[in-house]
């Protein structure tokens, strides 16, 4: 791939990216959220077609027009969310795009025989007639690889393939990848886990802000260098703000907290224990599948019975938070990462969104008091720095920053004792970002405990008094403010699992 550029509106997401993939080589692709990894892969896979630059496959200029076209060219993607059809058999899934047979009649016997052969190649001893819904997750993933091979894939893109897997399945997957390499397939391996990259990849390339910032053979660059490439030279030092030492009053104490997964083999959060004190901002730092967001979701009560703990205490009192309502009654507020689907009610004005949490106290006997509500909303707007006119607007039409202010503001009106904030400034412009950070600090200064989860090392480093680094659902390290530089956090999040259980 040479000089790939891609713009979304005015934003340049990819800026002259060049990447060489060699047959029989595993090429690791790294980069923070928004670095341009997934855009690049989507161009390769034919999802985005309006890009600049050229793609050469075996020296021939190609331009994938659609996922089907990319497949025909020999480029296949194994997604994080698997794309098999659960109600069909393995054989049917393998040939769903191009069934074997003629004139539209499917030759089942031929499909079954071919399926058995292809399954053998990926080391799966399964009956091709089995339904996919009866397979375990790693088996499905292998079937997905088998499907790509069955279609003659020569470039295989694997997007964080180990996220969902437990130890033995990872070993099995790596064996398969080695086998593919031996057969001359070029593999693009997206991951942020150095341990895996060192085991399986031959070369690595780091993207940042839509450019290639570094590329090297695996083993020739230390982790620190990779981390430096990913973060870039910008403001590595955290904003130094004098912060009062938090009082040692325990606000939240969590013991052996787990969140079960619906799709994954492993729990999303695996028996973590920690304490948050009043007046303290604790950061939960983890990359994509580390489980930081799920930990907050679980604590908010949103996951119901999927979240389990030996004990959760708030202000030293054991509590049960089975639903967001119960959590709210305990003074817990939750600002979700995904404003659109979890934070706001579209069609309702910003004002009504802002008073949704505190509505019971604003409407005695159930009767709405518009004047009272307006006062509360105006107070909220002033508090989070929202223009009063924006209150009358449909919340869905606000900018990302203003939306986030509304979501944060509706909880601030409730004066929470514990604020859970997931990715507080994702998709938010710089100005609003600073305002939101200031708001979180002010809340902590007033004595609330704040738990911030995120995958933006700079934000967590700037915001948190103390950082818990998560890796695959476990706490990998606890870092005090003084040591919590973005580079240190990222290195910890990407680093080896010491003694994998």
């Amino acid at each position: 791939m040479e000089h790939i550029t891609k713009r979304f509106g005015r934003a340049t997401v990819l800026d002259g990216v060049s990447l060489d993939l060699h047959a029989g080589e595993v090429h690791a692709l790294l980069g923070e959220n928004g670095a341009g990894k997934s855009t690049l892969l989507k161009i390769l896979a034919g999802v985005h077609t309006d890009h600049g630059g050229s793609i050469f496959l075996d020296g021939r200029l190609v331009r994938p027009r659609s996922p089907a076209h990319a497949g025909a060219l020999g480029i296949a993607v194994i997604h994080q969310e698997l794309s098999l059809l659960p109600a069909l058999s393995i054989a049917e899934n393998l040939f769903v795009e191009r069934p074997l047979g003629r004139l539209g009649w499917i030759d089942r016997r031929r499909e079954r025989a071919s399926a058995a052969r292809i399954l053998g190649e990926v080391g799966l001893e399964l009956d091709p007639d089995m339904l996919v819904e009866g397979l375990s997750l790693p088996e499905r993933q292998l079937v997905e690889v088998a499907r790509a091979l069955g279609r003659g894939a020569r470039v295989l893109i694997m997007d964080e393939p180990t996220s969902a897997l437990a130890g033995p399945a990872i070993d099995r997957l790596f064996e398969l990848v080695s086998g593919l390499r031996a057969r001359g397939v070029a593999v693009v391996y997206v991951s942020h886990r150095m341990e895996e990259i060192e085991r399986i990849a031959d070369r690595l390339t780091v993207l940042r802000d839509g450019r290639v910032v570094g590329s090297a053979r695996v083993g020739e660059v230390p982790l620190d260098q990779v981390v430096a490439w990913m973060l870039g030279p910008r403001s590595l030092a955290a904003e130094e703000l004098p912060r009062p030492a938090p009082a040692r009053e325990e606000r939240l104490s969590v013991e052996a907290f787990s969140v079960d997964s619906v799709a994954f083999e492993r729990p999303l959060v695996d028996r973590v224990s920690f304490v948050v004190f009043a007046g303290e901002i604790v950061g939960l730092f983890g990359l994509s599948d580390a489980g930081a967001g799920e930990l907050l979701l679980g604590l908010s009560g949103a996951l119901g019975a999927r979240a389990r703990a030996k004990e959760v205490r708030i202000s030293s009192v054991p509590v049960r938070m089975g639903s967001p309502r119960e959590a709210r009654a305990l003074g817990v507020a939750f600002v979700p990462a995904d404003r659109k689907s979890m934070g706001l009610v579209p069609g309702m004005t910003a004002e009504h969104n802002g008073t949704l949490v505190t509505l019971p106290s604003l409407s005695p006997l159930g009767l709405l008091r518009p004047a009272r509500e307006r006062r509360a909303a105006l107070g909220m707007a002033a508090d989070v720095g929202l223009r009063p006119e924006a209150l009358a607007m449909d919340a869905a039409t606000l900018s990302g920053g203003n939306q986030q202010k509304v979501v944060l503001g509706k909880w601030l009106l409730d004066e929470p004792r514990l604020l859970l904030c997931d990715e507080p400034t994702r998709g938010v412009d710089v100005g609003a970002k600073a305002e939101i950070h200031a708001k979180l600090r002010a809340l902590a200064a007033r004595g609330a405990a704040v738990l911030v989860a995120g995958s933006d090392a700079r934000e967590i480093a700037a915001l948190a008094d103390r950082v818990l680094v998560l890796r695959r659902g476990r706490i990998a390290a606890e870092v005090a403010r003084a040591e919590a530089t973005p580079a240190a956090l990222l290195a910890l999040a990407m680093g080896h699992d010491e003694g994998r259980a």
């Binding site: 934070g343 009504h352 409407s363 159930g366 009767l367 307006r374 223009r387 006119e389 209150l391 609003a432």
Partner: protein, 341 residues
């Protein structure tokens, strides 16, 4: 981005919800549909019948029973649900109301109370299945629709419950039409308005108040707009949904009593396909079937649009086939107009 430069005396947001651009355009479109239909009436006045007060009284009276159903459907639809059982619950209520007040001779207030409770129970049953068992509203209320119709037939013994009461020996005994039914079927306010129309307007006022000025109403919009966000904001999602269906069931019961009063009997087949008309009324008004958008004002316009259309076609004695085609055409025009908002 910072707003600190803005002076604090910026005009405060005026009545936030009602002035939203969406709401205004939707109202305009609903008015457009009604105006379209009324123009039709002016163009084809059926020998002046359209300009007679009786015609309008009739149009309102006829729209009242289905209009009550539409009022009940509004909260359910706002919360993102649907209730197909309203027609059947109407039939069941008509039968039970007739049984109680004609055959058993119970006083009017007791009959009404018992029937309303029964309607509420039907609604609570549908609502609970939707909220707890997470069955799709379409399926849950479809089941209730079939079940309530069966119950109506069982309770009535398959025949109309009328003032001819069969004795144990099969001989018919005639009783008076109960005062409750007489009162509901009588014209009031100097003969200008049918009593059922007043009932309809009262129901519209109550449900409209609940939707616009009560916390429950806000929760309906929140649940319909984004159920997950509402849940995470501490909104009692399940209770909200169940209450919406309860309101709907009670309204269907009121409609059933009104229907029985106007027919002076409880017909187990009453209300068949009314749910579709009622849903059409709500939707033509501009309330979104996806939930979260709409209101009582719009619904009233929808009720009047369909009610007047029906009346105008009827006074012009338009044959059934053309009538169906015209109704379909106008519903589509109104729906497309709303869709573009």
């Amino acid at each position: 981005m910072s707003d600190k430069s803005l002076s604090p005396d910026v005009p405060a947001a005026r009545s936030a919800g009602k002035t939203s651009a969406w709401h205004r355009s939707s109202l305009a479109r609903a008015l457009f549909s009604l105006a379209l239909v009324l123009t039709l009436g002016v163009m084809f006045p059926a020998e002046g019948a359209f300009f007679r007060l009786g015609t309008h009284q009739g149009a309102w009276r006829q729209a009242s029973v289905v209009g009550i159903l539409a009022c009940g459907l509004l909260p359910v639809i706002l919360a993102g649900g649907i209730d197909l059982s309203v027609g059947s619950v109407l039939g069941l209520s008509a039968v039970v109301a007739a049984k109680l007040s004609i055959h058993a001779g119970e006083p009017g207030w007791l009959s009404v109370l018992l029937v309303l409770v029964m309607g509420a129970v039907c609604g609570a049953a549908s609502g609970s299945v939707v909220a707890f068992a997470r069955v799709q509203p379409f399926v849950a209320t479809l089941a209730m629709m079939v079940f309530a119709r069966g119950l109506a037939k069982m309770a009535s013994g398959g025949t109309k419950v009328a003032t001819a009461v069969p004795g144990p020996d099969g001989v018919l005994r005639y009783v008076e039409v109960p005062p409750l039914f007489r009162a509901l079927d009588a014209p009031v306010l100097g003969g200008r308005v049918a009593a059922v129309t007043l009932v309809f307007l009262a129901i519209a006022a109550i449900v409209g108040f609940l939707c616009a000025r009560h916390r429950l109403g806000r929760y309906l919009y929140a649940v319909g707009g984004n159920e997950e966000a509402a849940r995470l904001s501490g909104v009692p999602v399940r209770a909200t949904k169940i209450l919406a269906y309860v309101i709907c069931g009670v309204c269907a019961a009121v409609a059933g009593i009104c229907q029985a009063a106007q027919e002076q009997q409880g017909d187990p087949e009453a209300g068949v396909s009314y749910e579709l008309t009622a849903i059409a009324m709500v939707v033509i008004g501009g309330t979104s079937l996806k939930g979260g958008r709409g209101g009582m004002g719009l619904t009233l316009l929808g009720v009047l649009t369909i009610g007047y259309l029906d009346k105008i076609l009827s006074i012009n004695a338009v044959p059934e086939a053309s009538r169906l085609m015209l109704t379909g055409a106008i519903v589509i025009v109104a729906a497309v107009a709303q869709k573009n908002s």
